[in-house]
């Protein structure tokens, strides 16, 4: 068992002919992912690493039975690519692209909800279920199958933590990067719900950072519903206030947004919070014993 992606995932890659799209398609195939189709408008008929390329998602789905999508297209085309994937009911739609305008993300997320499709990202590293499926850019060699579910707002920080877990002999059920943008398709709470119900996940690692109130909402959900141990790390304890932090979150949620506030909220509901990324694995091990 795993969440969101697994051995049944038949992946379509949008932007497969680009530098990043082609590079990571190769790595996803090596990781055992069934990449069945690529889409780049104007490049239909080509092939990348033996994967057939189509002009539209519609054609690709008809020909290959793709059921999930990963998006590598440049930011200004990401909205159209994501809406196209959602309209074809690909699920999940994982958006790796960085720099997507927030208003575009709002439309994509709303459209996905209307269609009952899960969007992960934008501006995230994707989803990896070790040994079965890698959708996105997480370095495969860091992972091994195991009992720990990992959910994060960051990309690189996720690799850091996963490497530490694997090194400590703690494999992962699934790792999900939610994306670092203000508006993303999947929240901590939704992933906590999935991990809580997943029989192969025995502990949950939650990696947050300053800004917004997603970690506080996660803490409330943990208190109300989560029966499994939760270990967290929050980045940005020493980050200066006011820099690139939208006023939006602050107005709506009062004092929420600082690392300290998030750490307090999580500790108050029984989650163990690590001081350094390297401390996460030891806390997880202690919780699993």
């Amino acid at each position: 068992m795993a969440i969101i992606v697994d051995g049944h995932t038949r992946l379509l890659v949008q932007g497969i002919t680009g530098y990043q799209g082609a590079f990571h398609t190769g790595l996803m195939l090596e990781a055992g992912t069934k990449v069945v189709a690529g889409v780049t408008p104007g490049k239909g008929g080509a092939a990348v690493h033996g994967v057939p390329v189509f002009d539209t998602v519609d054609e690709a789905v008809r020909s290959t039975g793709a059921n999930a999508c990963c998006i590598f297209v440049p930011a200004r085309f990401a909205r159209d690519a994501a809406l196209e994937a959602i309209a074809s009911r690909l699920d999940p739609v994982v958006i790796i692209t960085e720099g997507v305008p927030v208003h575009d993300a709002i439309e994509v997320v709303a459209y996905a909800r209307q269609h009952g499709v899960r969007v992960v990202g934008p501006n995230g590293p994707g989803v990896t279920t070790p040994g079965q499926c890698r959708v996105g850019i997480m370095p495969t060699h860091l992972f091994k199958p195991g009992p720990v579910g990992v959910v994060s707002r960051s990309g690189t920080l996720t690799y850091e933590i996963v490497a530490g877990l694997t090194h400590a002999g703690l494999g992962q059920s699934t790792a999900i990067g939610l994306g670092g943008d203000p508006v993303v398709g999947t929240s901590f709470v939704e992933v906590l719900e999935l991990f809580n119900e997943d029989p192969d996940t025995y502990a949950i690692v939650l990696l947050g950072e300053i800004g917004g109130s997603a970690e506080e909402e996660a803490a409330r959900y943990v208190q109300a519903h989560v029966k499994k141990p939760v270990v967290a790390y929050i980045a940005g304890r020493t980050a200066p206030p006011g820099k690139r932090m939208g006023h939006a979150g602050a107005v709506i949620s009062g004092t929420e947004g600082t690392a300290d506030h998030k750490i307090q909220a999580l500790e108050a509901v029984g989650a163990r919070v690590a001081t350094l990324p390297s401390g996460v694995a030891a806390l997880v091990r202690a919780q699993l014993q």
């Binding site: 305008p101 670092g180 917004g212 990324p277």
Partner: protein
């Protein structure tokens, strides 16, 4: 990207939002040429908050007084920001102050209107102390903010009759501006009742940095320092801090945790520099140049965990522009073996452990500081 009040009011004017007659000047002598009805208000144009308390907003009854005030305010420093322009507007008699804004509600993934009959004050403190005085309504992502929603909000603020209709026009226009201009925040505080009509007395506008490409007509961003602007030009995210260890990393989360790591081991970061996903050799080279340009940098900590970023690309960038100050390099992840090999062959040491890398960087900075004192 944050705009000045006078710039925000230009946008307001274009969308039919009522603003006072006013003109922006950068020399006190220009006051004499302004065709304004007195008294006027002279307002410092700064991006930081709290200018009123700092003495940056003053009432003038005559042109002579306005010129004198403009001279005093121009050149003032408000919370570290130098005042280079003032906005001179016709003063009005305010009967009551309201608050109206559109913001992006991250949790809901939607745009929300936030309004209150308690305007003219810090809305965050109203939200904390009297949350029941805040009215909130979500815009539909596809239909927008509708007239009936504006009417509901307006009624809850206590408006009736022709003023209610004015409020509906203002709220729907503010939403149109918010959506069309890719705003992150569009705020009127206060939205003032003056002689029975509503007027946008102050205006705040923050635009989405990711959408700037859709708005090529925008003025230059004045919020950034010189180095921040240089980094931005190369698509690097750089924030100046006040320590002595330059930091380069990939991914906002990792760089934030890198700052925390340095602090944990007793060091202080000189900057936040995220080379971003898919950092190329050129990006790394540029990042090295920018990070070391800040005066007082004694050491550099490069903390790279490759995902979409490839370690071999990073290594090539480092080799092409090797650090000029003592460096601690941590390089691991995608194409790690190749990256480590490239550095080794160029005689540059690099490790795999972040805590060790941070400890070494703090030690290098400390030695640099002692060396300087010894001289």
């Amino acid at each position: 990207m944050k705009l000045h009040e006078y710039q925000a009011k230009e946008y307001f004017g274009r969308y039919g939002l009522p603003v006072q007659k006013g003109l922006v000047i950068d020399r006190p002598e220009q006051v004499a040429g302004l065709a304004l009805r007195y008294p006027v208000v002279v307002k410092a144009q700064v991006l930081v908050g709290g200018r009123g308390k700092a003495g940056g907003v003053k009432l003038a009854r005559t042109p002579a007084e306005a010129e004198e005030l403009a001279r005093a305010i121009l050149g003032m420093e408000i919370r570290g920001e130098r005042v280079t322009r003032v906005l001179v507007t016709e003063a009005v008699d305010i009967d009551k102050e309201y608050y109206l804004a559109f913001v992006t509600d991250r949790a809901a993934g939607r745009v929300a209107a936030i309004a209150s009959a308690e305007g003219g004050v810090d809305i965050e403190s109203v939200a904390r102390t009297a949350p029941e005085k805040i009215v909130r309504a979500e815009a539909d992502p596809f239909l927008g903010f509708l007239a009936f929603q504006a009417r509901v909000v307006g009624r809850r603020l206590g408006f009736a009759g022709p003023v209610l209709e004015e409020f509906v026009r203002i709220a729907t226009a503010l939403y149109r501006l918010y959506w069309a201009e890719d705003a992150d925040l569009a705020e009127i505080n206060p939205l003032a009742l003056v002689a029975g009509h509503l007027l946008c007395v102050d205006a705040k506008l923050v635009l989405d940095d990711n959408a700037l490409y859709r708005h090529p007509e925008l003025p230059p961003n004045e919020e950034m320092t010189e180095l921040e602007a240089a980094a931005k030009k190369h698509d690097l995210s750089y924030v100046e801090l006040d320590g002595d260890i330059a930091v380069i990393g990939n991914g906002a989360g990792l760089v934030m945790s890198t700052l925390d790591l340095l602090a944990h081991f007793g060091g202080r970061a000189a900057n936040f520099l995220d080379v971003g996903g898919g950092a190329s050799a050129e990006a790394m080279q540029t990042a090295l140049g920018i990070a070391q340009r800040k005066p007082g940098v004694r050491a550099i900590f490069i903390n790279i965990f490759g995902g979409i970023t490839r370690c071999d690309d990073v290594a090539r960038g480092i080799v092409d522009n090797p650090p000029k100050v003592p460096a601690s390099i941590r390089l691991t992840g995608t194409n790690e073996t190749e990256g480590q090999r490239i550095l080794r062959e160029a005689g540059i040491a690099a490790g795999l452990d972040p805590d060790e890398g941070a400890r070494v960087a703090v030690e290098l900075a400390r030695r640099g500081a002692q060396g300087r004192e010894g001289r």
